[in-house]
Symmetry: none
């Protein structure tokens, strides 16, 4: 289970990120929302839903901003007419892995305010936490003056009912996750408790112990300032604020999602040994340091690109390579790494690995076709393995006619990376018996064998 | 109020930092403790006290390390004789600004275990949170076997009393802050709830609903593995571990330097496919996320440790795992990654990889020995591949006599990582025909085959 | 003088950033261009010009991307028709502070290739460095095959002339700054020297020692691969690639630029003491932590906002506050901090500072008007300084009619920050005798004086 | 080839890191040396050697600190007896991969000064770069006064010979890498060229064109200040400074804790306006960028140092300045910034601020004493305000006898920072009527007034 409170200091705004399995959701995201996608990446999760507790008036909500790179669905209350997203109402439930969010309509602060009750269905349907938005804070409740003085009594009564009929009955042991902490202008006197429970609030917040009449009377006369920018926020948050970021962002994809993707270009960025040990059929193997040199040979600009890695480590610089070469359609990566593929028992392909000695023992074997894929200048300058044929790896795709389909192809380069790329190109094109010489010409000489020069 | 949970991933260790005004305290700090002083700096606070819930056995506690730059006082239980810090006992209270910590003696996991009850005196003396150490987790309680089998019944009874007489009575609405989360070796089945309350635990954790007799009986027979490094941790944490000051620097080593190193423990942290595709003979394969769980089973404390990776990406968190477990002799890594090895044409070893179908085709082959290296509780709970033999991977080294040397050994776990570790242990011990089942039992079922249950 | 080489690893692309005084320029920026604006910010410089050495074919140039947030002018060669930017030609010179860039037309790699000769006019007109693009590398020269085989001889001849007639004659002691380092596909055999000189290259690069005939003959037959993505790059770089970032970026502004800006809202984010000690007339003083609370009261959404700080430290979180509140028109900051203002002897305004004792001595002075600008609830709850009048700071602008213009106004809050904001609002509105009570009501009580309650 | 210049800003200290293959070396490392190991890690290199150009007197060299985690060997000149490391002498060569460093003995700045000539043997034995330490800078040469006046002529002659017999003959095309850039106290007038060559220096640095007699005559009479902390540095760098392991942590101190501290040196790092607006009595005001230049004049090594800032922003680089100068007793900072002081109503002191016009109106006022605290060379070169008296700010503490106690002292420098430092020194010494001229001589001229020249 993922649970992270993301605080925007000074605004005293709390957003929450929850997740389970490979799915995550964000409640009340802020506009500078890279922090959520970073958390998602670090956990191999994809943000699939965004929930708003209400139309915020004190900051620009980041729902649209976050929905753009993630494709997440946005939900908010139905009582006002938002210019974006979907309406959710009492009793609606949403699953995020084994987590479940159930919607409570809790008007009072605004008329469309929602609370979301979290339970972990792997344990029980009982509530574990509740995201209360601006209905209930630690030590305080939401302000009820923003709909105007004439509405104040009515809103205060609605808030009382939301609290006493919906939120407090959830149980003393339920953890309260409000949208604001101490210092927010959205409450008069929010406490600085970082975490609290319904039981603690019932016991220690006097406002919650009063009669409805006393509560409404107090709220009617509570003095709170209304900063003029609230109007602008309400307007932006109703219609959806302008977008500020357009940076490519990688989606965490399941094996199923990858298989169903149209025209996906599957790019395996693992090492030659890892590729040989097992890979997704049809993938191309370009190691990290080879990306700037070879993606431009092998990838189309218009089709989506999906990355396969072992551990999905440090993908940021990987993405930069694509951006620098204009591949703005870089799409996603296999969440959980290649293990996510094989743990489902999905189809695998392996490639052969030969050591220099293995090759030496087959040097005159007529069923073996040794394919040198180095740059021609290296072949000319450094020499070649006796009997090998040359096609530069960048041109291999266009020269398959020169590679016999009825032989065992042993591809090699100088070390083993481009050899693995060549092997992957051949396998993708239906060659069944393909091996990469680990060590390439360097390993060949290191193992005591000689290169030939013309 | 400052409240931060600092998690050490993979160890599933939780430390907590609390503060108020200009003072802060840390509960169960980890050894790489710069994170606490960073938080303190960002909040203009000074760490004045460090609290230990008990003498930890699964990681090196950072109390002395953190006390050095901060001058903070260290506190722990009085029932054993620590080589550093101060004793605290039942009812002792400590103020951190308006926060107050009250000590509960809660023996059972260890005899000197303490819990710390947090209240915010600015609001009330009532408890808001409790730091339970290894007494109470989300969904589980602490293990009681570490004091030895002869003490197990007594410790279990003490733990029952600590829970029922001290912790649970604090109130349903109190938030529980345990020392470990899901995945820790300090509990059998800790849930992954990030936050929980006493009320939620009382309701949903069966162990807390049992009679004392049933509880003790269960705890007496609970099966838990004891990694051998626990001895070292207990010793370091009793006397105070050596100061490290900074995360050790790893030397970039050439293949030659590694080969010439005396008693080098070569640890391959690549994926199972990468290991299978080629590796340094004599190396052990533990994937990144398995390091905290398995290095303590397989590595000696006194001999140098050398890492092999594909691309040497992001080694900093890797090093931290070693430091947290007291492996200060972590020495270096193969510069240039495994390719630096094979580009010299040096000796290679490969391991076999089988897909579920490969295994299915050999299920009755008498020359094949299927070795299940999962935790025994997973085998019992989830079932097993027909005909497989079981030895837990952590105990394999000591049980080689049960693995025939004249057969083709197909090791497997649930996914493929521990299977690769097992394969590496076997190869290191001279087994020549070793294969890892890629996908493990998950892949087996995913490919449409069935597991057997007794 | 600023000189930074920004390398894009693996592409082996070098861009360069130079600067002097408050101006900077970038040569051949990459597309992920935040690194340049970060350097500019850390040096209080504004990027005013971007120079391209040629239409690159191996990566997407970042000129347009960088021009958007900085407003910098883009320059490139005139021999082809770019879809953006300005043409520069032989002998054109550009000043960046005391630095001067002189254009050399150096065709050969492409027909519009330029080199830029740097001199520091504070020392001499003699060249110190030359940015050679893809004409001259360390150990190699640019490829001449990209214009097509039929042009190859001609391009090679042009390159020879560019080298021998333009670049090499600059002098042995001139430092060479090429667009690529070792590993680039833009040269056949670029050396890995990080820095080099014309003298070193003349001596050690055989290609530079050959006759024109030999040179052309060699270049005509040099074997180089043309990755297919080059076509896409040429197209993007000719017409200008799509923009990917739209994050607000602050311009480093001179005092003059600020004074000439229409409707600038000058926001002083320094401390109350710093504001009192001297400030730009007409500025508003909101301290960092007060920004989210008060900019929404005082700043208009449509007019540009300019920040004044002491040292321009850590402005990133400051910008975030504006973005979170939808102030996307945040524009710039005074480069060099407030000292840049007073070192020019520009008009200054100071505000008075009183200690609690100073106020105590004037408590009954009829010429003094004590203005309490705290939240009304604080005044009611905590008491007030005898004789003080109350207007909440957020409403002060609309209630100036209640503040006498013929008295000495002593504004105060609880500590001194909002008091300083109030003082700034009053000064902006023409009040001439305004003082802030340092310490506010807290300091008042701390100094031993009492607050009154009704 | 790895080549990185690592600059310590404000000290204007340059260290250099070079490497090839898997080996790297550092020339003149600074004490906070994690940056070098980070670079090494990112390049898969191991630092095997550390070279010192001379016993530095302006900062603590980091050789021992860096040797601890890396095991690197340290080398320096043989002419004095260092307490650590190995001696290197004329003609010694060291290989780092294909790079070679050759030692030149280049005494003059100190008697054991060495330069290191770099060549890349993969290309040629010819020099590519030279690390000149404090012998040759861009636009200047090293100071020769530090060995004492009686040695000055001799040292100057030695420096002339080192330059003309050893360094300049290396060739015009050799890149010069000096130990300091513009702003360093180790040269009188170092240029801000980031990179330069021997040819450029020979052509544009007049000092290098003079006869030996003229050179020695000039160097004998060159006016340079000797900060008192140089003695401490020489001592530490001769015997090897204590190891620090990490940047010290600062304690967050309350006003009370600061007041109760014995012998606390209170250092106010705020701006001149902030200091003037209110400060802790007895504090010294050195702005951030002035710290490396002035703490060595004004702070004792043995007494604790406490920082006062407005917002405690980004104190890490501030602490580094102290560590680099060996002030390991840097202790803490006022938590909450200066506001924490005045919100308690504690005693305050203010200083006067005058604009140029204020001063112009009092230019002939006999009660005003105008104190010019600039470097004497600036006064001589740029002129002075009529009637002003000169005492360099670094020497003010020792020359208070020359400042009348019965007058209004108006201190000034060129901008206002050193003027504020002077004002703080005067106030600390009991002067009651002290004002700082905001804008200094620059503001004076900017406001239309003239400076006088003798």
């Amino acid at each position: 289970m993922l649970f992270e409170k993301v605080k925007s200091d000074l605004l005293a705004h709390n957003s929450y990120m929850i997740g389970s399995g490979s799915e995550a959701a964000v409640i009340d995201p802020r506009r500078d929302c890279r922090i959520y996608t970073k958390i998602a990446e670090s956990r191999n999760m994809t943000i699939t839903r965004i929930f708003e507790t209400h139309r915020n008036e004190d900051y620009v909500v980041g729902s649209r901003e976050l929905a753009r790179p993630t494709g997440a669905e946005i939900y908010h209350g139905a009582a006002i007419d938002f210019g974006y997203g979907n309406a959710a109402g009492e009793g609606d439930t949403f699953s995020i892995g084994t987590l479940r969010l159930r919607v409570l309509e809790t008007p009072g602060h605004t008329k469309e305010s929602l609370s979301y009750v979290l339970s972990d269905t792997a344990v029980s349907d009982d509530p574990l936490m509740v995201f209360t938005g601006d209905a209930l804070f630690a030590g305080d409740v939401g302000r009820t003056d923003l709909a105007g003085d004439e509405m104040r009594e009515k809103m205060s009564g609605m808030l009382y009912d939301s609290l006493h009929d919906k939120i407090l009955p959830l149980g003393d042991d339920v953890i309260v996750c409000p949208a604001h902490g101490a210092g927010s202008v959205c409450g008069g006197d929010i406490s600085d408790r970082e975490y609290t429970t319904i039981g603690y609030e019932k016991e220690h917040t006097p406002l919650l112990q009063w009669s409805k009449a006393d509560f409404v009377e107090y709220k009617k006369h509570e003095h709170l300032y209304v900063p003029p920018y609230f109007r602008k926020m309400e307007d932006l948050n109703l219609h959806g604020p302008p977008l500020i970021y357009t940076i490519p962002h990688l989606a965490a994809l399941s094996p199923k999602a990858i298989r169903e993707m149209q025209n996906a270009q599957i790019l395996d960025i693992r090492s030659p040994t890892s590729f040989a040990g097992g890979h997704v059929p049809g993938s191309i193997n370009i190691w990290r340091e080879g990306l700037p040199a070879f993606i431009g040979y092998l990838l189309k600009y218009d089709d989506p690109i999906v990355l396969i890695d072992d551990f999905n480590l440090d993908l940021d610089p990987v993405i930069r390579h694509f951006v620098r070469l204009g591949y703005d359609t870089i799409t996603g990566y296999l969440a959980g790494g290649f293990a996510a593929w094989f743990r489902q028992g999905r189809e695998l392909e392996t490639a052969g690995i030969w050591s220099p000695r293995d090759l030496a023992e087959h040097l005159t074997d007529p069923s073996v076709f040794i394919l040198d894929v180095r740059d021609i200048t290296h072949r000319e300058r450094d020499g070649y393995i006796p009997g090998s044929h040359h096609i530069y790896v960048g041109n291999l795709d266009q020269n398959l006619g020169r590679v016999p389909r009825d032989k065992h192809i042993v591809a090699h380069c100088d070390v083993g990376y481009k050899g693995s790329l060549a092997a992957s190109i051949l396998q993708k094109n239906g060659y069944e018996n393909v091996t990469n010489l680990l060590g390439g010409t360097h390993g060949w000489e290191g193992a005591g064998y000689s290169l030939t020069r013309d």
